[in-house]
């Protein structure tokens, strides 16, 4: 397109800004079965069923706002008035056929009660000028959906921004660099493409056999029960040569750590952290700290064992941030300090989590339940839908804040996809706190990092009660 054509195209797109689509009414009112499905899907691994359950008044978790008016598995009839549909069609026809969700911002005016019937009305807020990003050239399209109940009361809003683009072709320079990288990679001797293999003696084989079995074993004297790591061949305490082992609980705290940078090791993926952890049993171990951004690693942090297959034939016992327990007592506004760090929470992105999350948020896009469809979209496996990410982010803050805290908003930016098999670790820090009438508002800045980078960054706003514990 020429510059003039570009301008004309943008004008056409922007002619839909401010227009509103037909109101979409939910097929069912807010109901306990859908709430329960959502709560089950968003439950953290190992979390007690009670804390993951709907609240005692049976109200819907706020982050379910957009769920009720989703079309479900039966495609909705095409809305000829929908300005987003129009704009998307025009973009597709012009070759901007790829699309990703980039920002989502929700405001929850109040929790939804069972029986409320929601209607969502979408309007087109903005179409950006043509932008060039790492993904390609395209347009950011922002829509706003306003939700009302059957009485016409406004209950919340959802602002959603997509990037509709033509995938960027790699430049010659990039292709040359890629080729050079491949050539360099080909020159590395094969044995340096995998981590150094452990050397074993008869007396240390138990440790590595345990590692292969996904266990962490600590040498234990059969005579006096003394533990030793690294293993000895004779118990220095009682003199016994009869040495066995015990299986570690997998609980540990971080004693010290380093982040190697140079020289680069071809068999390591950077960045990585090596830690010395103190096991609950008392011995220490050199290991890797995984599922945690290096800048969030802290001496003293609680850790849990996670067995990792690093290379074919090599499984190693590693540690990651221990999942924190869900707070059963509600924090008071006065207890919260700006700068306070929330405990890290690793979440395994399993197929089950992705599919359960997609269905519970009534998102039946095939990329979230059919691996072949995800591969057609250019990803190696299923990946998480946005409303599940939304749910997990709000639950993360809720689990820290306690059951009586109410989440009133979320504003997140989406990045690297959460692909099945990965682990996302949520972290957060209290960014601001504001006293309101009879309650206090706390904004938590959070990020969810996975192996590919930041899956999500943004804020969750939560309201806390004031004063002493009731």
């Amino acid at each position: 397109m020429t510059a003039t054509e570009d301008t004309a195209f943008l004008e056409t797109l922007r002619s839909y800004v401010g227009r509103t689509g037909a109101p979409q009414t939910a097929r069912d009112p807010v109901n306990s079965a859908t709430i329960r499905n959502w709560c089950d899907a968003m439950r953290f691994d190992g979390e007690a069923l009670e804390t993951a359950a709907p609240d005692d008044k049976g109200r819907a978790p706020p982050a379910m706002l957009a769920v009720w008016t989703m079309p479900g598995a039966i495609p909705r009839e095409f809305d000829p008035d929908c300005p987003r549909g129009k704009v998307f069609m025009l973009l597709q026809q012009a070759g901007f056929a790829s699309m990703i969700g980039v920002n989502t911002e929700e405001e929850y005016f109040r929790p939804l009660e069972i029986g409320e019937l929601l209607t969502g009305t979408l309007s087109l807020l903005d179409v950006s000028e043509q932008k060039s990003t790492a993904l390609g050239v395209g347009y950011f399209v922002t829509t706003l959906t306003e939700f009302k109940n059957q009485k016409g009361e406004r209950v919340g809003t959802w602002k959603f921004r997509t990037f509709n683009f033509k995938p960027r072709q790699p430049t010659e320079e990039e292709l040359a660099k890629k080729k050079q990288r491949q050539e360099q990679q080909a020159k590395i001797p094969k044995h340096l493409l995998v981590r150094p293999r452990p050397a074993m003696m008869k007396e240390t084989a138990f440790f590595w056999e345990g590692a292969q079995a996904g266990e962490l074993r600590i040498q234990q004297c059969r005579g006096c029960q003394r533990l030793a790591h690294p293993p000895v061949v004779r118990c220095p305490a009682c003199g016994s040569y009869d040495l066995g082992y015990r299986v570690a609980s997998g609980k540990a705290t971080l004693y010290s750590f380093v982040e190697p940078v140079h020289p680069p090791m071809p068999f390591m993926r950077y960045p990585y952290v090596v830690g010395v952890v103190e096991l609950e049993e008392g011995t220490r171990l050199i290991t890797n700290i995984v599922h945690c951004a290096p800048e969030l690693v802290r001496i003293g942090m609680p850790l849990e064992l996670v067995s990792q297959q690093t290379d074919p034939g090599l499984k190693l016992p590693m540690f990651r941030p221990a999942a924190p327990s869900v707070n059963r007592q509600t924090r008071r506004f006065e207890e919260v300090q700006t700068g306070e760090e929330l405990p890290l929470r690793p979440i395994d992105v399993t197929t089950r989590r992705i599919v359960a999350g997609a269905i519970a948020t009534r998102d039946f896009e095939d990329i979230h339940h059919e691996a072949a469809a995800a591969r057609r979209a250019g990803l190696p496996d299923l990946f998480m839908n946005i409303l599940t990410t939304n749910g997990l982010c709000t639950r993360y803050v809720q689990a820290w804040a306690g059951p009586q805290a109410s989440v009133t908003g979320i504003n997140i930016r989406l990045g690297a996809p959460n692909v099945a098999g990965d682990t996302m670790t949520l972290s957060g820090v209290v960014e601001s706190r504001t006293a309101l009438e009879h309650r206090g508002q706390v904004v938590v800045r959070l990020s969810g990092r996975n192996d590919l980078g930041d899956h999500v960054t943004g804020t969750v706003t939560v309201e806390l009660p004031l004063g002493g514990r009731s």
Binding site: L192, R195, P196, A199, H262, V276
Partner: protein, 392 residues
């Protein structure tokens, strides 16, 4: 426990090659050149040498060195293990040999092309997983990507920072002091190249929390010394450096650079054991030490050495060094040759030579008063230490 040879032996000759990044000659040639220079400096002749001590990790066989030097008869030869921890241990061994009569003039040497041929800094990832205790030992760390000396030391540094509130700037002050001293030493690789704390803070990461300027150099070169009894030394022309104390130390749950399993890892117990012995043996205390050559493969472990040898309290080295105490003119100038950070990495052997120069009054950064100098070998391994004194 008094050592029978305290004050009875001395270093009477020192000799070194040039220190470079590429010597252009074999390690054997470097060893022989250094030995020849040391023999000449001592004012003796090769036929008088009858003892030889080096490191187990040295590639140059005593017998090969002898053939080129023209040393015909050896009545004592031994080697000390544990890499840089051997440094003062070689002098300890030579001193025992001459004190006992096992040898009369003992050569001590170390030579390598550590930069141009076999670099230690690149890591241990190429070692074969053989079922030997040494390889088994590497297996507790190597599969996790903890592969380089810098990374092994960084683990101690991180914990030290956590417990005592030290910062990477405190580590940087050690590098600044060493480079300041090297700047005055024409033999130093970094002659006339001092650095600022800002340079240190701007240098790139090697292993967080260690930066490039926290790491010593990698060098090619050779260093040798001649040890004999003080009685014989007094008949030679040169000024002897009296060995007031020479000791080795290894402690509970000792590991090679990875003694992370001890109750506390912020101190260096084997250095503490050396400190206890050198002071007992010499009858001196920290207050009597006028300068020190503290092993500086990596800056962070210089701090706990100051603590173990009693120059300050535990955890307070960061305060001790803050105002130039370890620089020339300060309470305890350290590494007046520039250390392994500034002069060259010779596995600690060049530091012993600097100890001798200090006693002789020949350092490029000579303190006004110098009666006793402390020299240490590598930290985080089984190690050794010396007190060298004027013949007062």
């Amino acid at each position: 426990m008094a050592m029978s040879f305290s004050g009875k032996t001395a270093i009477v000759g020192i000799g070194a090659t040039d220190f470079s990044k590429c010597s252009g000659r074999s390690t054997l040639r470097l060893a022989v050149e250094a030995c020849e220079a040391a023999i000449r400096d001592a004012g003796v002749t090769p036929d008088m040498i009858d003892g030889m001590v080096t490191y187990t990790v040295d590639d140059n066989h005593e017998i090969d060195v002898c053939r080129s030097l023209g040393v015909d008869r050896l009545t004592h030869f031994s080697r000390i293990h544990h890499s840089g921890g051997a440094a003062c241990g070689t002098i300890h061994q030579a001193a025992m040999a001459v004190a006992s009569g096992a040898a009369t003039y003992c050569l001590v040497y170390r030579a390598f092309n550590e930069r141009s041929e076999t670099r230690f800094g690149v890591g241990v990832q190429e070692r074969a997983p053989l079922p030997t205790p040494m390889e088994v030992d590497f297996s507790w760390s190597s599969p996790f990507g903890l592969l380089t000396p810098a990374s092994w030391v960084a683990m101690f540094a991180q914990r030290y920072m956590h417990e005592y509130g030290a910062t990477t700037e405190d580590f940087g002050r050690v590098a600044v002091a060493c480079r300041r001293h090297a700047a005055n030493n024409p033999a130093a690789f970094f002659y006339k190249q001092p650095i600022t704390l800002e340079d240190h803070q701007n240098s790139r990461w090697i292993v967080k929390p260690l930066r490039l300027l926290d790491c010593c150099q990698e060098s090619d070169g050779g260093q040798a010394m001649v040890v004999t009894t003080l009685e014989r030394a007094r008949d030679l022309t040169g000024k002897p450096a009296v060995i007031r104390a020479a000791v080795q130390g290894s402690c509970d749950d000792q590991q090679m650079m990875k003694s992370y399993y001890r109750k506390s890892i912020t101190g260096i117990p084997e250095m503490g054991l050396c400190a206890e012995q050198v002071y007992a043996e010499s009858g001196l205390s920290a207050a009597d030490i006028d300068a020190a050559v503290l092993y500086d493969h990596f800056t962070p472990l210089v701090l706990p050495q100051l603590e173990e040898f009693g120059f300050c309290k535990r955890g307070e080295a960061k305060d001790f060094i803050r105002d130039g105490a370890i620089e020339i003119g300060g309470r305890l100038p350290i590494n007046t040759h520039g250390g392994q950070i500034g002069e060259a990495y010779l596995h600690g052997m060049n530091g012993i030579a600097e100890g001798v120069r200090l006693v002789r009054g020949q350092s490029w950064n000579q303190p006004k008063k110098l009666d006793n100098v402390l020299v240490t070998a590598a930290s985080a391994v089984p190690t050794s230490a010396l007190i060298l004194s004027r013949d007062y």
